[in-house]
Point group: C2
Chain length 223, copies 2
DNA sequence: GCTATATTGTCACTTAGTGACAGATTTTTG
DNA sequence: CAAAAATCTGTCACTAAGTGACAATATAGC
């Protein structure tokens, strides 16, 4: 809010004892990974905060400083794909269709070797979130955040207000269909489906968004 | 699962000491009402399970037997409108458009006097659920249940399988837009808007569902 | 009213999550 | 590199959420 001219950067405010944003995220990721593993192996209810903390090598008190509650420990894992998707939409050029934009990204995508095992965790948690109510809430909250991001992105693209009810309806519908497709893909992969046999997933998403928004979102728009 | 012929009714199984389903629901409603009041007056975090139990006149232990956790105490209130909506869709005749069906219901609707104060609670919680994360999860879970119900209803109407991905996409998109409109209406009413000045809310919902499903749901279908 | 069964309350207990404070760590600055 | 300023972490004590067990009570059917 109120910023006097002393700070040249309002966002990247570096202070003496603060540890780097990167390091913070790494720890959160590490916690999330272990939490996901434990939740998968023994269930959510049977996993205690103490176990998660021990697995990561932190005190329980510190764990609760990184996450407000047990379930949200897996939030970084569950939010992984969604945040990537949102970031992708933020770079969506106005003169390109959604399908083309997603396809082009899929082609230039490089797969980190370490990322592979992480993707496994993402799939496992997405599937687990369909049955475990405590994880379902986290998954739905994650998608709620995506929806809010899409409101901004769609408003920008359609040159309308983020308060516009139509914009919000489009964002909600789009988020919903993307979520369902994600759940479907995760379930298929978990069942042992070959990733290459899934067909054009991103194309499916693009078409679903186009349909769910009544054709308002998906086509190229005036620059 | 396994039912031998001794019981004539598998659903309405009446046993000696079991209290009536109606009585159970009344207690849940009463708890939900008080929880909603307390959450509204002092916030969710500041309200303890003990306070809720005391307000209803139950022991804390019994409270936790009716609801698994503090937040879900308001679930009956938050689910109120949604369940009514789902029930309405279940009676949706195949040869009638969604808009007509909703409109006809609105006309024949009778307003219980006791229902009025309850509606106030519904609106308050819906609005509160936009800011309070702990309530947002309950609200989203409620809509998740609605979505699952819509899958069945849409599958039935479209004569397709509930596993059909398109059916699930339609249900998800429809639920999402109905949710957003509900949030919008609640916010408007909370801000003091005259209910009569809101225009044709149900018509808006019907049109939004029609759009979000790519025209697949909303029109009359073959009997 | 009697009986079978479910519901409730009390008590003891585990776990989630927080506030406070001292000590260890990190980054910037000189 | 050393010092300073802030943050981060662990320990401790604590509150509140939520559960299991068991005795007492209330309820429906006869």
């Amino acid at each position: 809010m109120g910023s006097d001219g002393t700070n040249d950067t309002t966002k990247n405010e570096r202070k003496p004892g603060r540890m780097s944003e990167q390091r913070q995220q790494r720890i959160r990721l590490e916690i999330s990974r272990e939490a996901a593993r434990l939740f998968w192996e023994q269930g959510v209810a049977a996993t205690t905060g103490e176990q998660i903390a021990e697995a990561v090598g932190l005190s329980v008190r510190t764990l609760w400083r990184y996450f407000r509650n047990k379930e949200s420990c897996v939030e970084p894992v569950l939010a992984q794909d969604g945040e990537e998707f949102v970031a992708l939409l933020r770079r969506w050029p106005r003169d390109v269709s959604l399908e083309d934009h997603l396809m082009e990204w899929a082609i230039n995508r490089t797969k980190d070797p370490d990322q592979q095992s992480f993707d496994q965790a993402v799939i496992k948690m997405t599937v687990l979130a369909e049955k475990e109510p405590d994880l379902r809430t986290v998954w739905l909250m994650t998608n709620d955040r995506i929806e809010r991001a899409l409101v901004e992105i769609f408003a920008d693209r359609l040159r309308r207000s983020p308060d516009d009810i139509e914009v919000r309806l489009h964002a909600a519908a789009a988020t919903a269909v993307v979520r369902v497709i994600s759940e479907d893909i995760s379930a298929a992969l978990m069942a042992g489906a070959d990733p290459t046999s899934l067909g054009n997933t991103l194309g499916q998403m693009a078409r679903a968004v186009h349909t769910a928004t009544g054709g308002a979102v998906g086509d190229p728009v005036d620059p």
